[in-house]
Symmetry: none
DNA sequence: TATGAATGAGTATTCATTCAT
DNA sequence: TATGAATGAATACTCATTCAT
């Protein structure tokens, strides 16, 4: 078994990354429900049993994929809004960064989303009910500030956050359905669309 | 095997409906990829092989679920907009009916959506790439008319349709994550949100 | 259950013949091991369960096919040699009639042979070990007479019968491998071949 | 899954041989169409799924049985005729070796023949229509030479080859019907029988 | 650190048979 | 006489996991 000390060995880190990438590729190529360990390990040019060496289980690997991918997305948007105070500008930065990240990391995003919607834990719980951290916290805080300051129209915060997320996630839907989709047209219109919906102007 | 074409017997119709309902319940309870024929047949209190008697395959059953559920949704919105000409009024009727239908048929909708996003045909094609009919045709036609008449803001039709659909589908996301979710708050805000986003007013 | 009195009703006889023919066609089209009751009944345009009405079991139907087909072959050769006394002439008549019958009834023969070589009874016994009557009795008696009279070379009777049968069955092999095979060339040479092998001349 | 190409491990080779032998035994005991993976695996005292580990499919295993068995038969006859030039002597060596091999390897031969006549590929094609190599090539070449040199009677080559094969295959029929059959009497007479049929003398 | 070997539980599907009508 | 309905047993196959090395 792998010793889970303070730090992972260099080779272990490399192998884990390699397997996560192989899992992304596999899920995109054959879909979640045919992404067996054999397929994933084969793509990583590693023995199937070696996966067990680095991940406690197949589920552990898939969860790591999800976590890794969404952590990167979270970091992108966090970096984008860093240092910006004004809600409208923050939302603009957030939305731009969000769609840009989806555009740039479409393979990883598509795979992670497919895993999230398809996977269930042993007791049947879907993954989006398992998430410990709230991915929408940042978006929520931006909207809260904007509504409080009166630059966005008055709305229940949950509703506003959910709808804004749905709008931005249109980018994900597009790359899922067509991995080569051109997002530039969407990117040109999604922010104005969202700003109008929130009762703001982006000028 | 059941002969197609002529007409289905009373009992066959009943059994097929029963199995479709059992499939919906099963998918909601254990998720798509654990919804085995054994689970479905068990919930229908029927032998596993009886499923094969009424449906050529498991895929046939699941596709029937999807078709049945979305046909009902399509009929709801079609009925709602029937006789209304003006784009703004038509969109209002459409959106209201859409969310109301999701609210009322949440079990069926949640299951059908999970099937659509999770299922792959034998050659690996996801279901949303297989659909022959365009579910968004009605919404698209409404938006086209509104944009043409200048009551909605100028936007590429594909983008407008996709974003509008994403907004409305927020209702589905909510019932998927929590089958007992209260949609009333969302219902009160989603139409104004969408109208603002499209540059229209609903007064 | 069908009453097994002294005689079968007209309709029962017709149905049984119909099913036997359907079984022949089915075995030829899809092979023994895919010749399910559903396939056979379908080709006979009869409900699957109706087969059970006329035959105790699927095995009963297949056995009837075998018996019917080989009875006809036996009758052909018996008729052919009838009234002929001289062994060489009898063998000539037998062999000619045998190959001619195979040629004429190739569909039925091919199916019956496939059943015989493929089918096993419930306890695993192959069909050729089940046969109660000896299909080779006539051929054996002809050869015995010929050897006794010194017109055929001296040979153990079993060996002679078996080899003669093998030679004649080449016709069956040909129609099995290719249902449209032209047997005329074989027919022209098989009798001289067999006669030479037995040390006789056919002039 | 087992990697092909490079080279098989010692244990893999052993397991495959073991499974092929188990398949032979199983087919002989219960017949082709009851020779399920469970039966075969049970006789090999191995888990059913282990069969899948060494053979891509049941069909792959059975085809390997056929190929192995007929390759050995082909090698026997090839070795027997090696270095012999004269057609009569070559045919004598061929026929003797053929029947001797059937006698010695009767279990394997019986099983392989039953597989060949019973098995169908997924699209329904019988095995003897699939064979790429021609098992009768050597026999054919011997007969062609003999006919050309005038030591065998003039006959169409296809007919001569087919009939000679049928004669020799009488040995297979005997061991199939009775695995303990004594072939010595047949062996004493089959070659003279065949030589007479071909118009040759074996002195 | 890595893997080949092996397995048990689970998958959809096929099919001859039974039975009430 | 005939059948639609239903089933249980069996089928090949898949796959995550375990383990000795």
């Amino acid at each position: 078994m792998v010793v889970r000390g303070s730090s992972r060995s260099f080779i272990e880190t490399a192998r884990r990354r390699q397997l996560i990438e192989a899992a992304v590729v596999t899920v995109n190529e054959v879909g979640y429900h045919r992404a067996s360990l054999a397929e994933i390990a084969g793509r990583a040019r590693i023995a199937k049993s070696a996966v067990a060496y680095y991940f406690a289980s197949k589920e552990g690997l898939l969860l790591d994929v999800v976590q890794t991918v969404f952590a990167a997305l979270g970091e992108s948007v966090l970096t984008a809004v860093d240092g910006i105070d004004e809600p409208v500008a923050r939302l603009l930065a957030y939305a731009d960064a969000y769609v840009a990240h989806v555009d740039a990391e479409r393979q990883a995003i598509a795979a992670a989303v497919e895993i999230v919607v398809s996977h269930r834990t042993a007791d049947g719980t879907p993954l989006y009910l398992v998430e410990d951290e709230d991915d929408t916290a940042l978006l929520r805080s931006i909207l809260r500030a904007g509504i409080d300051q009166g630059v966005f129209v008055e709305m229940p915060l949950d509703v506003a956050t959910g709808l804004a997320e749905s709008v931005l996630d249109r980018a994900i839907t597009l790359v899922q359905r067509n991995s080569g989709a051109d997002l530039s047209v969407l990117r040109a219109h999604v922010v104005p669309f969202l700003f109008r919906a929130l009762g703001a102007t982006d000028d």
